[in-house]
């Protein structure tokens, strides 16, 4: 971690944007830009390290941990500029999700150990929550952690673990007690994937690029100092992290990226001479910009008191649905080109495939509708 950072929040917006654009221009190789999938870690690593050197890798972290300390609205500008320039997606579940959790729940030893290695990219993290029989119903997870003194023996399986094939660490929810209700007795465990007994099987997804995996634990031994927060209270840690996850899950940035592609395609094809396509584009613009207004509103709430309420489920449902609709519109506007498996930015199918997962992951949109119905609208229990 290098120079003391200026106060990015205080900088004039245009200056902040220009600074970022200059940085990207200098540091991000053109051949890595506008690529619709995550690269293998080694390919994107130079860019990761450049972000790390400049302390841009963790825009949302407090400054004292090497973050930029950005307010959410400024954080959105950061994301906007990165997306507009087409910088590569990173395997960044660590800095994005785990980092804030360690900052909130970690011991000083854990903070001192994990945060710098995560920041530098030496530790690449993946998130091990889902299991074959615990998808939407996460609390019923079975992956077993037997605590024996100051060590824990882990057995079981995780699935849909994004980036597990490139990660060297996993933060996982492990059942360490089976005596209470199912939300209790779960621990939040930080595991080195180099340990004996861990196997990873990538799962091919629709786009043909493995993005998630199965992870198997067979008598994996970790120290109990790898538990984040208190043992058996991992559900609370995971829930606190869901706040960050949910605002991320509701970010309209992916829809926005498709919108830019859509507009470009329509212009290239001359479709905007037709008021049918003009209307469709306007709808797409409105749906995306409106999502940004909603996102900004929730970001303001986070800024005001550091919390998002359950209403945030509405943002997740809207943004992921918009991403999906726009990806379908892109195919519609592309005519027969829509069938062709392209490469890089020309792959019109990529947004279609990629927009399928967000309505399922981070809580299916159906689960979020349950939350809205029960916790926001106060409707009676449906059983």
């Amino acid at each position: 971690m290098t120079d003391p950072a200026p106060d990015w929040n205080a900088m004039a917006e245009e200056d902040f944007r220009r600074m970022l654009r200059d940085f990207i221009e200098t540091e991000c190789p053109a051949e890595l830009r506008h690529y619709p999938h995550r690269f293998p870690a080694d390919v994107s690593m130079p860019w990761y390290r450049a972000l790390h050197r400049r302390n841009f890798i963790a825009p949302g972290w407090p400054v004292e941990y090497g973050g930029m300390g950005l307010r959410p609205d400024r954080h959105l500008i950061f994301i906007e500029e990165m997306e507009a320039a087409g910088t590569p997606w990173l395997h960044d579940a660590g800095v994005r999700n785990l980092g804030p959790a360690i900052i909130a729940w970690g011991t000083e030893v854990q903070k001192a150990h994990y945060l710098p290695l995560m920041h530098s990219g030496e530790h690449i993290w993946c998130q091990g929550y889902s299991e074959p029989s615990a998808g939407s119903d996460l609390a019923s997870l079975q992956c077993d952690g037997r605590i024996e003194g100051d060590r824990m023996v882990v057995n079981g399986q995780k699935i849909w673990t994004t980036s597990a094939h490139v990660a060297n660490h996993i933060f996982a929810l492990i059942r360490t007690d089976r005596t209470g209700p199912k939300q209790e007795g779960i621990s939040f465990v930080l595991i080195d994937m180099g340990l004996p007994g861990i196997t990873v099987r990538p799962i091919e997804n629709l786009s043909g690029h493995p993005d998630f995996c199965e992870v198997f634990f067979d008598d994996v031994v970790v120290g109990t100092d790898c538990i984040l927060g208190e043992p058996n209270k991992g559900w609370a840690v995971a829930r606190s992290l869901l706040g960050f996850e949910r605002i991320w899950a509701g970010s309209p940035k992916r829809a926005f990226k498709v919108l830019l592609a859509l507009r470009r395609l329509m212009e290239e094809r001359g479709l905007l001479a037709s008021d049918y396509w003009r209307d469709r584009l306007a709808q797409a613009i409105f749906d995306t910009q409106d999502a940004q207004d909603m996102y900004g509103g929730f970001a303001d709430l986070v800024r005001a008191d550091g919390k998002v309420g359950v209403e945030i489920s509405a943002l997740k449902i809207w943004s992921t649905g918009t991403f999906q609709r726009l990806s379908e519109l892109l195919l519609e506007a592309a005519g027969s080109d829509a069938a062709l498996a392209g490469e890089g930015a020309a792959d019109l199918l990529a947004p279609y495939y990629e927009s399928r997962a967000p309505t399922i992951f981070a809580g299916t949109n159906e689960v979020h509708r349950n939350i809205l119905a029960r916790s926001v609208l106060g409707l009676p229990k449906s059983d």
Binding site: A84, F286, D293, M294, I317, L379
Partner: protein, 372 residues
């Protein structure tokens, strides 16, 4: 225009809320349908007294010099008594005068409801993207046909858009003057909307050319935003009614709100309600700051289209979730439904808003910036 500070905004919201609660009498609203002037007799006096008519007028005209967002609070709150009339039409007339920099006397009268001008701009049902009017102005006389004139009933003056020797002209015509003839249609909610036939009616010019064009465009955009604010008020109230129904109505041995399929329908309605709220709040705040008329137009179009669409969706789903009770006029839901149907197609349906937005968006320039 200045933004309102949060405390003043809260006070204003409270005052409007109290008025709405006091006058939210469904029976009285039904009894006033298809009759002139379309609002309770005391409404105008209250609006003047409370200063609502003066909110967005400049201080040198006896106004408060506040922004559209302040007027939005009033429009939204008045949904609580089922209609904001005649608030929109007076705002529209006032704002066109302000932007034209004309009619100072009229503006002063407007703040106290002593003058009641109505803007007569529309000639065809899909007119929001504005074309030169067929109504003509020459040698001090206006001739033509205007329709959908809000606030025409009881108006003291008409501000008429016409094509004149110097391009667009905004012409002031006294109500009832010879050569003018007013008739009324009634909207879904039973409120009147005027048809004005002008045959060489004498009028005086308020503004012409670019100034007139900009003033008209700006006032229409601003009032369209107010309509959106009122729609938000109706959306919230329809949602409250339908959620209450889901929590109390029983079928098949349980509260219907316990059926998951209906829960998800309600949740989707909430997603749209919440989205509309976010768009309205952000849009109104931005509207007080934006100066560029193109940016204001784009913001207005997007905001208004969202509120139109949300209202339409919430109407459709609310009626369905209410079941047979949703299609009776005896249910107060119907008052919100009919009011929304009257508003959605006035000052720009969603398809007109999208077309208008694209007219303004200048695709090349915007896209080059990587933004839309």
């Amino acid at each position: 225009m200045a933004s309102m500070d949060a405390d003043t905004a809260a006070l204003l919201r409270e005052a409007v809320g109290k008025h709405a609660e006091r006058t939210a009498d469904g029976r009285a609203v039904r009894a006033r349908r298809n009759d002139l002037p379309g609002h309770a007799p005391e409404t105008l006096a209250v609006m003047a007294e409370q200063g609502w008519l003066a909110l967005a007028l400049p201080e040198d005209s006896g106004g408060l010099g506040l922004g559209v967002s302040a007027a939005g609070i009033v429009a939204e709150g008045l949904a609580g008594c089922f209609t904001a009339d005649p608030f929109h039409s007076l705002f529209l007339a006032g704002r066109v005068l302000v932007h034209a920099g004309a009619g100072a006397e009229l503006l002063a009268g407007l703040a106290t409801a002593e003058a009641l001008p109505a803007l007569a701009w529309q000639e065809n049902p899909q007119g929001f993207r504005l074309a030169p009017p067929a109504t003509t102005f020459a040698a001090g006389r206006v001739s033509g046909q205007k329709a959908w004139v809000a606030g025409a009933a009881g108006a003291s003056h008409y501000i008429v858009s016409a094509s004149g020797p110097d391009g667009l002209a905004l012409v002031l015509v006294e109500a009832g003057i010879s050569g003018s003839q007013l008739s009324h249609d009634f909207r879904a909610d039973g409120s009147p909307t005027g048809r004005l036939a002008l045959d060489a009616a004498p009028g005086t010019v308020l503004a012409t050319g670019k100034v007139a064009e900009r003033a008209l465009r700006a006032a229409l955009d601003e009032t369209s935003v107010l309509v959106a604010a009122e729609l938000m008020g109706h959306v919230d109230r329809m949602m409250a009614l339908v959620i209450e129904h889901l929590k109390t109505r029983r079928q098949f041995g349980k509260l219907i709100g316990a059926f998951q399929a209906l829960q998800h329908r309600a949740a989707d309605m909430f997603v749209h309600q919440r989205l509309a709220r976010a768009v309205l709040d952000a849009g109104l705040a931005r509207f007080d700051e934006l100066r560029d008329p193109v940016a204001r137009g784009m913001q207005a179009a997007r905001l208004r289209a969202r509120l139109n669409d949300t209202a339409q969706l919430v109407i459709r789903e609310s009626i369905q979730l209410f079941g047979a009770m949703g299609i009776t006029d005896e249910n107060d839901l119907s008052l919100h439904v009919k009011r929304c149907l009257s508003l959605i197609c006035w000052l720009g349906s969603s398809v007109e808003q999208r077309g208008y937005y694209m007219d303004l968006a200048e695709p090349q320039g915007q896209a080059a910036e990587g933004r839309i």
